[in-house]
Symmetry: C2
Subunit: 172 residues, 2 copies
């Protein structure tokens, strides 16, 4: 098995210290993929660990039927982008992320593995051309399905003194 | 028709200047409601217009099967909460919000009316007791379905100089 296959299969395995829950038999609501995100990364292991690790300009392509919804977006310096981490298992409640090596609850992590694998990333808007947005600040795989674009309001979305306690300890 | 019924029906009407798109016939992915949010507001017109308008402590109740996923959340000062705005139509691409009175694209607004009505709110964590979180910073209806809880990282989530141009102009 090549290293890359190994990496891919690990994304679906349960490691020691991890715990799965039984998911409901049916979904409660449905999502539309409203576009696609184009990035330089085609393998999970090539993606930056954090969005701020890379200056790469990525492209968000909105489906034609939703393109009129972009009116006014050009006045925003930053956007909140929601997308679907479609390759992730959804039943783990306790995880041991490889780069931390400690067991933590899914809701204390930004891991793609979660009951509803919706990612939320703040991006800097560089340009808009028709239904295509050039942005900086994404770290996802090429071809990732887009769910939503929202204006980022510093007044309600920015909390610069917020602390994730376990992460601070890990670094010190 | 009472004022409250009128308000409710308006949430589903198309106002002059608004534009609907044709949504796809099928969904692309499914969501689990992982809990409920309890707030003081039972009617749409009573909800604060912005989350920071109210100091009300709201309660997020996570379903028992996902409760282990809260391990480590107690070390966070702030969380990013994703929830489902279940009473909203999904097909409007141009909207004329009543309190602004101007036509704008859905992706330039934080309106609940959008193809995927997922709200993202930053909350301050006040307390955790078992599967119940007490938080400040929500503005949604009582009983709103919960989708996700994420740790809020100031390093990637906080952009204090972000500007929404159309909103700045509106206020001046």
């Amino acid at each position: 098995m090549s290293e890359s296959q190994n990496e891919a299969s690990n994304a679906f395995d349960v490691r020691p210290g991890e715990m799965a829950t039984e998911l409901p038999a049916t979904f409660d609501a449905g999502l539309y993929f409203i576009g696609r995100i184009h990035t330089p990364w085609t393998r999970r292991e090539d993606c930056p660990k954090h969005a701020r690790e890379s200056d790469a300009v990525c492209t968000i392509e909105v489906e034609e039927r939703y393109a009129p919804a972009l009116a006014g977006v050009e006045t925003c310096t930053h956007l909140l982008v929601l997308y679907w981490m479609h390759r992730s298992r959804r039943d783990l409640v306790l995880q041991v992320p490889r780069h931390y090596g400690e067991q933590r609850g899914t809701f204390a992590l930004r891991s793609p593995v979660r009951p509803n694998p919706i990612a939320a990333s703040v991006v800097k808007l560089v340009a808009i051309e028709g239904p295509r947005l050039s942005v900086v600040g994404l770290d996802c795989l090429d071809g990732t399905p887009l769910l939503d674009i929202k204006p980022y309001f510093a007044s309600t979305d920015a909390v610069s003194d917020a602390v994730v306690g376990w992460h601070v300890e890990q670094k010190s």
